[in-house]
Structure formats: structure tokens, C-alpha cells
Point group: C2
């Protein structure tokens, strides 16, 4: 896979400076502060001579190639790094420069791993069948996502240390207070990678895209920690990336727990202070 | 508009009971707890003899008709309650009962307010033009969303009381710790309505759908309070619903601020304790 020269670092930044009025104890004063940037990213796939726009996501600029690659991987549209021939920002000179950095094209070597029909069903046009959590689980299994057999263990002490380690590393969050993070840790608590975004799903896709592009997938013997809650989509992405342990500082949803149980993922919630809850796969904790 | 008899109260609930292992100070014990339910909802529109599946959203069951109506309204696909002839859950006997409550159809009297092409562009297939925040703002203006001229004022003391009032009313959150809320208050701090969901966007669409169906739109002289952050989509929905003041307990994004400034919405962030930040429209606060 080649990265197109000159297009790797976009002109856009992850944060922006704004002026505001701060109210404090009845006093108001003008101030400047930093907020997280939010811009649309259009993910486009080139396959078999066609260009297909598969999704538009509201994201924080940065690690856009990872986001696009991770999204396509975790949604099952590509299955390996080898399928990607080229990742580039829009190179159409007729499009103004700011917009160019909001369109990422993944040129594939071969065909999509799925049909265009399935892709349309996924992102826009649902079909009558399969509109329930159980059907979504079956869909993941039909995509070939396997039950995670890795039985590596992690100590409860290491687990309890992870939220603080995550927060220490959230650089843009520290400036803006407005970003979610998704981070990968080793079983001894060492940070492997962290990605931030206004959306938890995007932060996780960036992390998975990093793994795909740097050939670290599957994430066996690793722990995924996300800020906020664990939703169906977060645990689905973890299953696709082969992560055996998923932690969040807040609550899981019912369907997140079902996905975790189905794919033998250890799912931990309310990881705060000295306590946490284990909703699935407690055997991996010692 | 008629609500189809017998389909108003779905069999599904907003929360579910799960068994888990709680770790606390080195002790582990089995426990039961309540988690927020998460299930897909497919929103289908019947218009001019056709049925069009416009979106699938992961949501917490409950207020599904409001969610569907609010989504279509805040995305600009319908413009008034009068356009809705009937809202119903799926009535296809071939679909099993659980799934039936995950498909809501809005039968329209006339045509969609937008073309099918625009709808496809919105939810799946982006076009090359308009993939930047500025273009998204222009798109909102092109939809006919007007600058909010309502200049009603609110006291800083009332504002500071809203997060606590919101939390007092979050019933499912209190049980699960896993739900976002979106609430509408009057200028004197009286709660008008609150909706909860695993997704902030869904909670806000439920609230707007309630307003549409009960003919309370536009939400002039009201304050919208959302848990979590203010994103582009939240402020966009507020603009569509005509809310002059939007508050969140956390940070806004850059694009949320731009939407607020464009539509003359007072945007307040970090509303916690005795302080808050005003990013737009400070003149409404006294």
C-alpha cells in the first residue's frame, strides 16, 4: 500500500480557538478557549473502475486515513491491508482545498469483500428482515467474525489503573474537554496506541485503522478502553478487530453485552476508582 | 393524524436485567443489575405509493413514533404534522413480533419535502460538493431553516439549576447509568418534557417528535438541555425546532458553535456548578 505523497498531513487541525463569555459566580468575562474541531469526512472506495461513496461521518480531523481504513475494516467491507492499493485525500483541483481534506478515497486492488447491495443495506436502506439485535448478531457471524479463543488473563490491579492512564494521554481532550478516546493497552497496562475524536465510534475506527495499516491486527492479548459507554457498535468493532477485553468507564447497553457474550469478549463497565463490573468473560480477570 | 390502534405501546422495554460479576476492593461477587436496552429502529416512509427505508438507528425502545417523526422533521424530510397520515409499527404478520416493534412506518399524505436523491445523499451517498462544515451550514439555510429572532431572556440562576433538574428526571438513567437525555425547559426553569436514549441524537429527535406530534413546535421561549456534548447535529436539530437556547454540561464542537452563531442560538457549554461558558448569543442571558 502506498500513501500518496504530499497528502498525508492535512491542513486542518484537531482543535480551534474560539472567543466566549465565561460566567462564574455572577461575574461575566470575555475569554478565549480551545474547542474540538468537527468536520464531515466522506469515505469513498475505488473498486473495479468505480468510485463509491460509502459513508459521511462527522469527525475530528486527524488520522483520517486510519479512520477510513478502520471504518471499512470494522464494517466488514475490506478484510486485509493487502486489499488497499492507495489511500489519498481528494485530488480534484476543482474542489477547494478545505473540502479536499474532507474526502478520503481508498483505492482497492480487487473487489469489495461485500456486495454493493449489502453496503447500501448497511448504511442507508434497510431491508425488512434482520431489524433486531439478534439478526445483527447473526449478521456479524455471517461476515466471518470468529469467537475469540485467546484466553490471556489480566490482573484486576492493571485494569483499575487504565482509566487514569487513558486520561493522562488524552492530549486534545485536555485542551478542549470535548473529545472521546479509544486506546489499546497491553496486558501489563502499557499503552500501545490512543486515538481521539468527537465520536467514540470514530476514535475506535481510527485505532483499528492504525492496527490494519501497521499490520498489528488482530489485537490479540490487548485491552481496548473507551471513554463513555459501551454500545453495540463499539463491541462489534472490537469483535472485528479480535480484541479479547473491552473496558469503558461507563455503562454498557444490553446489545453490547450480547455481542460480547457471543464472541467471548470480556466486557467491563463502570471501571472507576477501585471497582468495576464484568458483564461477560470474567474468567480472563485474575 | 391517526395512531394505529393497538400498536402504541411496544412489548419492548427501555431497560433489561443482566447478571454480572462486581469487583470491589479485591472482592468479587455475582450481582444483578439493570442496563439500557439498545435495539435497531428502522424508519420507513410511505409516500406516493412507495415505501422508502430512510434510516436505521440504534436506539433505546420507547417513544419510537416520536423518534421517527422527530428524525424526519429535524432532517428536513417533513415540515409539519399535517403531512403525516399514519404512524405505525410494522404490521407484516410474516415478521416475528420482536422485529415488528423495530420498524416504524410514517405514511405521508403527500410527497416528501425533499427528493429521494437528496435523501440518499444525506444518509449514505455523499456527493463531491459540500463536504465541509460551511457547505453543511448552507444546506441548512437552503432547507429554509430561519435565523431565530426570539429574544426572550433567561436568568443565569435558572440556567445553573437546569443540570440538577435534568438529572432528577432521568428515570432510566438512574437505573442504568447508561442513557443520554434531552430535555425542554421553560424560561423560568419548569420542565416541559424529557426523553432518554442510548444516543443523544435520538433523545433529541424523540423530544422534537413529541413537539411535532403534540403541535408544540417551534420551541420558542424554551431551553434545550442535553447531557454530554453539543455536536453539530444537536445544534442543527435545535435550529430546525426553533429553540433559542441550547445548553450542555460538556463541551461544544467547533461546528456546533458555527451553527449556533449562524442561526442566532444561544449556545452554553460546561454548565456545571456555579459557572458556564457562552459560545454564542450571550445577549439572552441576564
Amino acid at each position: 500500500m502506498n500513501k500518496q505523497a504530499g497528502t498525508v498531513s492535512p491542513a486542518t487541525a484537531a482543535s480551534a480557538s474560539v472567543s466566549l463569555t465565561a460566567w462564574d459566580e455572577g461575574q461575566m468575562q470575555p475569554r478565549f478557549d480551545t474547542v474540538a474541531k468537527e468536520e464531515p469526512l466522506q469515505i469513498r472506495v475505488g473498486s473495479g473502475g468505480r468510485l463509491i461513496d460509502v459513508a459521511v461521518t462527522m469527525r475530528t480531523p486527524g488520522n483520517d486515513f486510519e479512520l477510513a481504513a478502520g471504518f471499512l475494516y470494522s464494517e466488514g467491507l475490506i478484510r486485509s491491508r493487502e486489499q488497499i492499493d492507495l489511500i489519498s485525500y481528494c485530488v480534484d483541483a476543482a474542489i477547494d482545498s478545505e473540502q479536499r481534506y474532507n474526502i478520503v478515497t481508498l483505492q482497492l486492488r480487487g473487489q469489495l469483500a461485500t456486495s454493493l447491495e449489502r453496503l447500501e443495506r448497511h448504511f442507508a436502506i434497510g431491508s425488512a428482515c434482520g431489524v433486531c439485535g439478534k439478526a445483527q448478531l447473526e449478521d456479524l457471524q455471517a461476515r466471518g467474525i470468529a469467537r475469540i479463543e485467546n484466553e490471556s488473563c489480566i490482573s484486576a490491579d492493571v485494569l483499575r489503573s487504565l482509566p487514569e492512564r487513558l486520561q493522562d494521554q488524552q492530549r486534545v481532550f485536555a485542551m478542549t474537554g470535548g473529545l472521546h478516546a479509544s486506546a489499546l493497552f497491553g496486558m501489563s497496562g502499557a499503552l500501545e496506541a490512543i486515538r481521539e475524536d468527537v465520536g467514540r465510534h470514530n476514535a475506535t475506527d481510527k485505532l483499528i485503522g492504525w492496527g490494519l495499516l501497521s499490520e498489528w491486527l488482530p489485537f490479540g492479548e490487548k485491552v481496548l478502553v473507551v471513554s463513555g459507554r459501551s454500545s453495540f457498535e463499539i463491541v462489534q468493532k472490537a469483535a472485528a478487530a479480535g480484541v479479547p477485553i473491552v473496558c469503558s468507564v461507563s455503562a454498557p447497553s444490553s446489545l453490547a453485552i450480547e455481542v460480547a457474550q457471543t464472541f467471548n469478549i470480556t466486557l467491563i463497565g463502570f471501571l472507576r476508582g477501585s471497582r468495576f463490573n464484568v458483564y461477560s468473560g470474567a474468567a480472563r480477570i485474575v
